[in-house]
């Protein structure tokens, strides 16, 4: 719709009225998002298909179709809104148009398969008013973006466009305009946050009648795409803002400096400028009030530094984009040495609204010192990537979890990076911080232009620092020594660290260099370049230290430091891709032996491990992670079919002896490796069978006792002695042990159930988790009946619940104070429990066990989640509703355990207040010479694999302590097939582990998981991407 000349308010009104009239003929309007993201997702084809479908099925209906700017929902595009019902459809493809036309346009219903689904219930949410992503935003700058035709001046005017400019020119003086902007408290949205009104005032005051308005649309921050979306969706908003600014300072010419990487933005801006000029909204004598203003586009050429205002000016002048000394400031001597204001696109985007609605309207949003809203570009590891606009003062946690939808794939939040290469990190301790300019500066971060990159737990902070430094180093213009040389040296240090060549003193050097560069660099690029490095050192110093001292990258990113992410994640360092390759090649016994080199409990771990390896598996980026644990079990089960005796190689006898206290996984592992080194090892175990928690706390249906004992025998056969029924401190003293043996390893675990600490916990009918499971496993408790409640959310709670079910309980209920997603128990366990009929009640916290001598009911508080704790989880708080009463016959609290050390006193050895040993991180030695400790007795309740890893580490340390090399005897080298045929790589879901049906398994203790068949195991193993391969 071509717009004719607009010379006054009358014309603006005429356009509005004509439009309203024309719109009356349309029974529906369909908006299709054509932001850059959706264009890449082929929204053009969707539009064509829509038109085709409408022509085919309802050619008589009058439907208005508009292509709008970015709607903000970039990760689920192409997207569409149907008006007037305001229904939102997403993830669209051309083929879907027929269904939508028939169901919605013609049928008047909702094509629910294309609606957003609720994450928990999977129910469709069709209406915009019900969609959190939209309702939690407040659109000021983006008010037109995504709702008007992005190329239509007419629609811009219909939405009160150019009324702001009209008001400014005809009703206000330039000083009035500046005053209004100042009162509104608008601060530069490009990142600096400098008061816009003040900048304009300086420019107004400067002498000269040749002044310039420049819009900085360079948007160089990697990860920022807010300005782009604004230019592509509502270019007139920028034009109007610049015109008002020009009027305020007395300029007649404006430039928009757009980066060359945005051809679509340039195209749409050009189109809008042409339309504005044709309507005389730009040019001479605008609104017939003697105000002249014109705008020209200047394209950048790929230099990040040109986002800095003086470098930008140099670039507009056709020079190399090198920054200049300030003062003089651009408002004094800027473009062509004339007074110039430079503002960001988003800053200009606020101007017209402020003039139209007044400064008070603006200050009613946001915080006192940072009024208004901010546009953020959410990217990285976050569900809802896209553009959002929220009021200042919203907390980081609300942005990430409420608007952003949280972290995908069940990962934990680690860091949010704002301000790109100039910014710092915000960690989970900052989730409750309200976002505004000043609060972020206090934390050592900056607001930046609005790019907010979310990073999950699989991110290496040292690598992130290196990435940003590499970027800045490349983009450094070279003019000043501080930045040119300083960033290069910092990058060199960071690269050495990530390649495994970090040295003592590197961290201190980075800090010194960083601070020096900040103080001496010429421009903002150099002055802020060290920020990501200094910020990551501040919050993640341990990661730097681990890279340098231990050559360990905990996130599994710096591939020079490990074999593969899975092997890196395994606390025992099992060569995962190695054994999987061997299974794929049919060499199952070799696979078993390879596992045993690092972990002597393959049968056990193949059934009960927490498998941190699978959470790092790179195959997950394609389809599903490899079933690493299930394959381990397969290898172990196959190998165990062979009953011939083991032939573990043992080193020459050393004639030294070690005493191990506790025959759990940690103690037995330590004993095994020391035995193979040639030491005489005696293990002292209080109970009548070996295995520790594996024998007592893990139920039979997860880990059958006979399989456990068979595995323990494979360790025994190297000649270690296990003395059962011997309690250290009672049957034999600790002193005796110290005299008999050359060194001691304590691995007694956490034996005592922690109390919840509420009234009635000592009543009859309250059976703490560990005691309950132990008694069942020992055969002391064989049946029960009635209603059972289990308190807790970890594996022990699930184990107790499923065991109670099997013993004959009529109902089993789990009460947990957080939500189901927050339960630390293994997902498969939770799923199987629910299948067996266990009921889970989230957000319930017991406050009292009540009854007359015996438990009758539990009094519970109902909880709700609000705010965030430092681990990034929402904090359960009292709902303050009425307490609930739950009738029960038996309560099993399972809320963690602690250790009890009756044989050694706190005077002799250092222990924490929770009763765990304090040990050296690298050797596991306690503060008592020659006495080592590991497993739960050091860590508190933890996983089997970490206990095993501790035992191995201690064995190596004990060997060194007694004069040996510390190198463990792991047997013969096993050749691993390295050939990999890429043509065999096909997408395939993970081969699932089959389980006995719930009805058949819930009343007995037979093993639930059935194990892989050879065919499935081999095929699953072939899905491995072999991340251990290296070139050359």
């Amino acid at each position: 719709m071509d717009v004719k000349l607009i010379n006054g308010r009358k014309h603006l009104e005429e356009i509005k009225n004509a439009y309203k009239e024309r719109m009356k003929q349309f029974e529906r309007t369909i908006l299709i998002c054509s932001g850059a993201g959706c264009i890449s997702s082929n929204c053009g084809a969707v539009k064509d298909a829509l038109i085709e479908a409408l022509d085919k099925y309802c050619p008589k209906k009058k439907i208005n179709i508009k292509l709008t700017g970015c709607m903000g929902t970039c990760s689920i595009g192409p997207a569409m809104i149907v008006q007037p019902s305001d229904v939102f459809y997403c993830n669209l493809e051309p083929e879907n148009m027929e269904v939508i036309v028939q169901t919605d346009i013609i049928g008047g219903g909702i094509a629910s398969e294309f609606c957003i689904k609720d994450k928990k219930t999977e129910e469709p949410i069709p209406y915009i008013k019900d969609i959190d992503f939209f309702t939690s935003q407040q659109k000021v700058v983006l008010k037109n973006c995504g709702s008007i035709d992005c190329l239509s001046l007419e629609e811009y005017v219909v939405n009160d466009g150019y009324l702001g400019l009209y008001k400014a020119i005809t009703e206000m003086t330039p000083e009035d305009v500046i005053s209004e902007i100042s009162k509104a408290g608008l601060r530069g949205r490009g990142g600096g946050g400098f008061p816009t009104g003040m900048k304009w005032k300086f420019a107004r005051k400067s002498d000269g009648d040749e002044k310039y308005v420049i819009c900085n649309a360079d948007e160089g921050d990697p990860g920022a795409f807010m300005d782009r979306s604004l230019l592509e969706g509502d270019a007139h908003g920028l034009i109007e803002g610049m015109a008002i600014a020009a009027y305020a300072i007395g300029a007649r010419k404006g430039y928009v400096y757009v980066r060359a990487e945005y051809p679509l933005a340039v195209e749409r801006l050009e189109h809008s400028l042409k339309a504005a000029k044709a309507a005389n909204l730009l040019g001479k004598n605008i609104f017939e009030h003697g105000f002249d203003f014109d705008i020209e586009i200047r394209i950048g050429a790929g230099a990040f530094v040109c986002g800095e205002e003086t470098a930008l000016i140099a670039s507009v002048e056709g020079q190399r984009g090198e920054p200049r000394q300030k003062p003089p400031y651009p408002s004094d001597k800027g473009l062509f040495q004339k007074p110039t204001i430079i503002n960001n696109v988003e800053t200009f985007g606020n101007v017209a609204s402020i003039i139209m609605n007044g400064s008070e309207w603006f200050t009613s949003m946001g915080t006192k010192k940072s009024p208004g809203t901010k546009v953020f570009a959410l990217a990285g590891d976050i569900e809802n990537t896209g553009i959002i606009e929220v009021p200042m003062g919203i907390t980081l946690g609300e942005i990430i979890f409420d608007v952003g939808g949280g972290i995908p794939r069940g990962k934990k939040f680690k860091v949010a990076q704002t301000g790109g290469p100039s910014g710092g990190c915000l960690t989970s301790e900052h989730l409750n911080v309200p976002i505004d300019y000043d609060s972020l500066i206090e934390l050592g971060a900056i607001m930046g232009s609005g790019g907010l990159i979310c990073m999950d737990e699989d991110t290496c902070m040292v690598d992130v620092a290196r990435f940003f430094m590499e970027f800045v180093q490349e983009e450094s213009c070279g003019k000043c020594v501080a930045c040119r040389l300083g960033t290069k040296r910092m990058l060199e240090i960071l690269e050495r660290i990530t390649k495994g060549d970090g040295r003592e003193g590197d961290i201190e050097k980075l800090e010194k260099l960083g601070n020096a560069i900040k103080d001496t660099a010429l421009c903002g690029l150099g002055q802020t370049a060290p920020n990501p490095v200094l910020s990551t050192i501040q919050y993640f110093r341990e990661e730097y230290e681990e890279h340098i001292h231990d050559k360990y990258c905990r996130a599994g990113v710096c591939s020079d430091l490990f074999i593969s992410p899975c092997e890196n994640a395994c606390p025992a360092g099992v060569n995962v891709p190695g054994y999987i390759a061997l299974i794929a090649a049919g060499r199952v016994k070799d696979a078993y032996n390879l596992i045993r080199q690092e972990n002597p409990f393959p049968s056990v771990c193949g059934r009960v491990c927490t498998h941190p390896c699978e959470s790092r598996c790179r195959r997950a980026q394609l389809d599903d992670p490899i079933a690493i644990m299930d394959l381990k079990r397969y290898a172990a089960d196959e190998a165990m079919k062979d009953t011939s005796p083991f032939m573990d190689i043992i080193s020459r006898k050393k004639n030294k002896s070690i005493g191990v206290i506790g025959a759990g996984p940690s103690g037995l592992t330590c004993a095994y490796y020391l035995g193979r080194k040639g030491y005489d090892v005696t293990v002292y175990e209080t109970e009548e069978i070996a295995g520790g928690m594996l024998a007592y706390a893990i139920p039979e249906y997860r880990l059958p006792q006979d399989i456990l004992q068979k595995e323990i025998n494979t360790l025994k056969q190297i000649g270690i002695q296990i003395k059962l029924g011997v309690e250290v401190g009672k049957d034999i003293t600790f002193e005796d042990l110290k005299e008999t043996h050359d060194s001691i390893y304590i691995a007694t675990g956490t034996q005592v159930s922690r109390l919840i600490g509420i009234e009635g916990e000592d009543m009859s009918g309250v059976y703490h988790g560990l005691d309950f499971l132990k008694d069942v496993n020992l055969g002391k408790l064989k049946e029960l009946s009635g209603k059972v409640a289990v308190i807790g959310g970890g594996n022990t709670a699930i184990d107790a619940a499923r065991t109670a079910m099997r013993l004959g309980a009529d109902e089993v209920h789990i009460l947990y104070r957080r939500t189901e997603e927050d339960m630390p128990a293994d997902c498969r366990e939770i799923e199987e429990a629910l299948e067996e009929g266990v009921q889970i009640h989230p957000l319930m916290a017991p406050v009292g066990f009540k009854g007359d001598g015996k438990i009758e009911f539990i009094e519970c508080k109902q909880m709700k989640l609000c705010g965030f704790d430092s681990s990034g989880r929402k904090v359960p708080k009292d709902c303050e509703q009425e307490n609930l009463k739950i009738d029960v016959d038996l309560v099993i609290p399972a809320v963690s355990q602690y250790s009890d050390l009756p044989f050694v006193s706190a005077d002799e050895v250092e222990i924490t207040k929770w009763g765990t040993f304090i040990v050296d991180k690298h050797t596991q030695m306690t503060t008592m010479e020659g006495v080592f400790a590991g497993g739960d007795v050091v860590r508190g309740s933890d996983a089997v694999i970490t206990a095993i890893a501790d035992g191995k580490k201690a064995a190596s340390a004990i060997d060194k302590f007694l004069g040996g090399s510390g190198e463990l005897n792991k047997g013969k080298h096993i050749e691993i097939p390295m050939h990999y045929d890429e043509s065999e790589l096909v997408e395939h879901d993970r081969f699932e582990m089959h389980a006995v049906e719930p009805d058949k398994r819930k009343n007995n203790f037979d093993e639930v998981s059935l194990g892989f068949h050879k065919l499935n195991a081999t095929a699953e193993a072939m899905r491995c991407l072999r991340c251990d391969r290296r070139e050359g």
């Binding site: 948007e219 790929g302 394609l622």
Partner: protein, 166 residues
Amino acid sequence: MADMVKQCEHCDLSETEKFSLLKQAVENYEAKENNLIQILHMAQAIFGYLPDNVLKFIAEEMDLPFSKVSGVVSFYSLFSTQPKGKHNIKVCLGTACYVRGGKKIVDKIKELLDIEVGETTEDMNFSLEVMRCIGACGLAPAIAIDDTVYKRVNPNKLRQILAEYE
């Protein structure tokens, strides 16, 4: 002007025709020094890259020292003095794409085409560049081949994508 230049990006003009188009571009910008960068963009679109003889021509037409023109060209990363391949692959290594595995994509392409970043394949079919953020962060990791943007690129699917351009 931009449309005219866009049209000739993929067609076969003679050297003389290209220079006359360039001369026209310089005239459209009134040979003013502060329009140098815009003119260089046009020149690169017409010739595919910026060889010395083109820069000398521009310097003469605009009455600027050659060193000035070449100094501007060497500063900005989008200007290339080396010929590009028929298809230009640009891998985005902005933060969002990097976090979502952008580096693996670069490594994989290097492996598949046997070239380093900034180089062109021997058969002149592909050249490889690294970009700093094309603003498609919602669809990371992203690459662009010529004008087509590929989103959520999987390193294991690269072979198929490149095959379309053989």
